[in-house]
């Protein structure tokens, strides 16, 4: 049975932007759409697509509202999102450890 850590990677999470979104949401507890767009240097449309993927997978919750007259979209991590992020980081660390311990040919 092949237990290579790369086989356990989740395609939804194992993507640079989506991993960035989960990381920021985890650290921030709650993050606004505009902050994510600035930090990840994305267009609104591109960020929305990634958010839809994460929301569809149940990893984040999106809450739309107003602050005064200004529309605001807040993103929070779900418990499944927290677990997925921790798993992904664990797999990445395993991959690094495996690369470091595998002797070169």
């Amino acid at each position: 049975m092949n237990d290579h850590p790369s086989l356990g990677l989740d395609d939804v999470v194992h993507q640079r932007v989506r991993l960035g979104i989960l990381t920021i949401a985890h650290e921030a507890r709650r993050v606004e759409f505009g902050y994510l767009r600035t930090q990840l240097d994305l267009t609104a449309g591109n960020l929305s697509k990634h958010l839809s993927v994460l929301e569809g997978a149940g990893l984040i919750e999106v809450e739309k509202g107003y602050e005064g007259r200004r529309p605001r979209t807040w993103i929070t991590l779900t418990p499944a999102g927290t677990t997925a992020l921790a798993d992904e980081i664990g797999r990445l660390k395993q991959l690094i450890a495996r690369v470091e311990t595998t002797p070169e040919d």
Partner: protein, 228 residues
């Protein structure tokens, strides 16, 4: 960052990016200067309360008995208000930046520590109702413990929680220096004994130093934050 799918051979770079993002978010959430400013102002406000609320009975042999009743009434309420103000300030600033905040455990810890001082005062009071006062000087560790449970010591203990929440190395260094100052250097519990200072002034001077230190630190952290 791009939206490229990552290959299995770049986990190290990806982890480094994750850590950099996490660090940036934590840095953006920090309002360390605001916490220090509120605590510094509260410390300075306590000085006149302590001055006028202190009962001092000096005897002909030069010894004095004192009771710092003003502190007992001022600090518990002041600390609850101070930590509530810090929490609101953090919350509003983080929200304006588009972030949540992690200050709540700090504010709760700070507010909870306010009961330590009156509880310790009450415990000592009840103990000496049924036990004689010791003849000799207090052991040094009891002096340090006495200073730790006082409001200035508790400010330092609560700051350690903020250090942990913010993963803030600069604040850790400041807090270590601050705790050394209020526990080991300044006579927070019995004041400076100097013929040039009156009894009340001897008590006020260490508090003034602590308040100024907190305000200077607030200015330093604010300046560092603006630079960043």
């Amino acid at each position: 960052m791009t939206s490229d799918s990552i290959s299995a051979d770049d986990p190290r770079r990806l982890l480094a990016e994750v850590r950099a993002l996490a660090h940036r978010v934590r840095a953006d959430q920090r309002m360390t200067w605001a916490a220090l400013l509120v605590l510094g102002v509260t410390t300075l406000l306590a000085i006149p309360v302590d001055w006028f609320g202190m009962r001092v009975d000096c005897h002909s042999d030069g010894s004095c008995e004192f009771a710092r009743n003003g502190m007992l009434y001022f600090w518990p309420a002041a600390m609850v208000l101070a930590y509530a103000a810090i929490a609101v300030w953090y919350f509003r600033a983080a929200r304006a930046r588009g972030l949540g905040t992690r200050v709540l455990p700090y504010a709760i810890t700070g507010a909870v520590t306010t009961v330590v001082f009156p509880a310790a005062w009450l415990a000592v009071f009840l103990y000496f109702r049924s036990h004689p006062y010791p003849d000799g000087p207090m052991p040094y560790w009891q002096f340090v413990l006495d200073r730790l449970v006082m409001p200035w010591g508790m400010i330092g203990v609560a700051l350690l929680v903020l250090v942990w929440l913010e993963r803030n190395l600069a604040l850790l260094l400041f807090t270590a220096g601050y705790l050394a100052l209020v526990l080991l250097v300044l006579p927070m519990n019995d004041g400076f004994a100097s013929p040039h200072l009156g009894f009340r002034a001897g008590m006020a001077l260490p508090q003034l130093i602590v308040g100024v230190v907190l305000l200077l630190a607030a200015a330093g952290f604010a300046r560092a934050g603006r630079r960043r």
